[in-house]
């Protein structure tokens, strides 16, 4: 597979990799979330994100003559296009995990909204479908944002959001950054851009591909 995909496929891979890796990270809370109810919620959100990743990969796979699974698992770690925000290993830190969910949903809503106007009908249709599902993620993230912001843990949560904010800006580009600043009520700052990977990423890649790599080309 080419490292330089055509621009519209490049965009799809960014979207897919973001959803895939965030889904993988959110699934790390399965079994250890602060409440059983949240455990179920995080698992459910992770599944939806991965479902979205699969849909984006399928569109890209048709362009690149490959499969969704090959795109999701069989690239080298440096070939993934995900934003550093989703790569961060935040498990055990609920404040940061929830801050990431809220920032991600806020940015993703802007991005998905613009995709609905895509002149690629399959992508526009997919964006409309995804928007309906992301609405529930946004409700969940907004609930935690409000709850923690009003609570005695407000400083802990505010610190988490501050720390992740430059990463959140890296999810979108151009004018969408301005819209994100408005939506989040925050100042523009230098973003942690896509392209470089954070140090948490190789370990996650190792783990998510370890079974599959034992039998290259195998059926699972």
């Amino acid at each position: 597979m080419s490292a330089q995909a055509p621009p519209r496929t490049e965009l799809l891979l960014q979207l897919a990799d973001d959803e895939l890796v965030l889904g993988w990270r959110d699934s790390e809370w399965t079994g250890i979330a602060p409440f059983l109810e949240e455990d179920v919620a995080f698992s459910s959100i992770a599944q939806t994100e991965i479902g979205h990743a699969r849909a984006f990969y399928e569109l890209a796979a048709a362009e690149l003559d490959t499969t969704a699974d090959e795109l999701a698992f069989d690239r080298r770690p440096e070939e993934y296009r995900c934003a550093p925000l989703v790569e961060l290993n935040l498990v055990h830190d609920w404040a940061k995990s929830v801050a990431r969910r809220w920032l991600y949903e806020t940015a993703d809503a802007i991005r998905v909204d613009s995709l609905k106007a895509s002149d690629w009908p399959e992508l526009a249709g997919l964006a409309a479908k995804i928007e309906r599902e992301e609405a529930y993620h946004a409700l969940h993230a907004g609930m935690w944002h409000d709850r923690l912001t009003r609570s005695t843990a407000r400083e802990r949560f505010a610190t988490a959001v501050d720390e992740l904010w430059p990463y959140a800006l890296g999810l979108v580009e151009g004018d969408q950054r301005r819209i994100l600043c408005e939506a989040a009520g925050r100042e523009d700052v230098p973003a942690v851009e896509r392209g470089a990977h954070v140090e948490d990423w190789p370990a996650l890649w190792e783990e998510m591909t370890m079974v599959r790599r034992t039998v290259p080309g195998g059926s699972w």
């Binding site: 599944q47 709850r147 783990e207 195998g218």
Partner: protein
């Protein structure tokens, strides 16, 4: 006429009568219910941990989705079951504290390690199959709220079995190496599976049967498991590691090497190969997220 004495109550439940949360019940019945149902809740919750390790390693998008959904179901079952325990008088937080402190038990199979992707298939297929046999029998439990949630649980568990069988099928039809993953996992899981339904005490000596909390004898459950699944294991060209295992065609009874019930006792009393490690993970994650519960509960107050 609602039962008012222990004797009337026993007669009522033994005749197939059911009991609701607000009905009068003997203290002994309530205590036995709490202990039994709490262990079930603990098992669902601890059962998450062996499979959880493989959620990050699932080798395709479809497997990732199916495994995450399956584990999510188990957490959901724990939530439902602890709710029943709570209505009987023991708060969920107390159940979780007792679990971590080693004061309450969970099923033997969740004390063992998961070593390969083969375990993921074998657990979802055969451990869930063994579990559903016990759970189906609980549909007739004398405590009605527990029997009711068992309907949903059995329905979901039957999907897990299909998922597990599908994982196993893909491996046995794959490369020699993949097939070996399943066989090796089955070899390791066989003994814990044979112990799963407990030692073969006669139903009339089982206090859980006396109150009709359970209505199935341990050995009946094990026979049902063998009858349902050994032929399927053979059909896939797999073997179980017990040379004594055979069905007596005349009596329909399966014969097998007596499982090591000392090991079962040792494991469920907190000395399994992964007991300490898994309870420690529960303890640490509870400690690290305690502030979240404090914040939310303060909010609710």
């Amino acid at each position: 006429m609602a039962p008012r004495t222990e004797q009337e109550f026993k007669k009522h439940v033994q005749a197939g009568g059911q009991v609701e949360t607000n009905d009068w019940m003997p203290d002994e019945y309530r205590a036995k219910l709490i202990k039994f149902i709490e262990m079930h809740g603990n098992s669902e919750l601890m059962g998450v941990l062996p499979e959880r390790e493989w959620i990050l390693r699932a080798p395709t998008l479809q497997r990732k989705l199916a495994l995450t959904a399956k584990v999510q179901d188990e957490v959901g079952h724990a939530q439902l079951i602890y709710r029943v325990v709570e209505d009987l008088g023991k708060p969920r937080e107390q159940s979780l504290e007792d679990l971590i402190a080693g004061k309450s038990k969970f099923h033997n199979v969740f004390h063992y390690p998961t070593k390969t992707w083969g375990d993921v298939g074998v657990i979802a297929w055969l451990v869930d199959a063994a579990a559903i046999i016990s759970q189906k029998a609980l549909l007739k439990c004398s405590y009605a709220p527990y029997a009711r949630i068992m309907k949903k649980i059995c329905w979901e568990e039957s999907f897990h079995i299909l998922h597990g069988r599908d994982v196993v099928l893909a491996l046995v039809t794959g490369t020699e190496e993949q097939r070996e993953l399943v066989q090796e996992a089955l070899d390791r899981w066989w003994a814990p599976l044979m112990m799963f339904h407990g030692n073969p005490i006669p139903a009339e000596d089982d206090p859980m049967v006396e109150w009709r909390i359970k209505s199935q004898a341990n050995e009946d459950a094990r026979q049902q498991f063998l009858d349902g699944y050994v032929p399927q294991i053979w059909e896939l060209g797999l073997t179980e590691p017990d040379p004594e295992l055979r069905k007596d065609e005349q009596t329909g009874v399966w014969h097998y090497t007596e499982p090591d019930y000392t090991e079962l006792k040792h494991v469920v009393t907190g000395h399994g190969p992964r007991t300490a490690e898994r309870l420690e993970l529960r303890r640490i994650s509870r400690e690290e997220t305690a502030w979240v519960r404090d914040v939310v509960l303060a909010d609710a107050a």
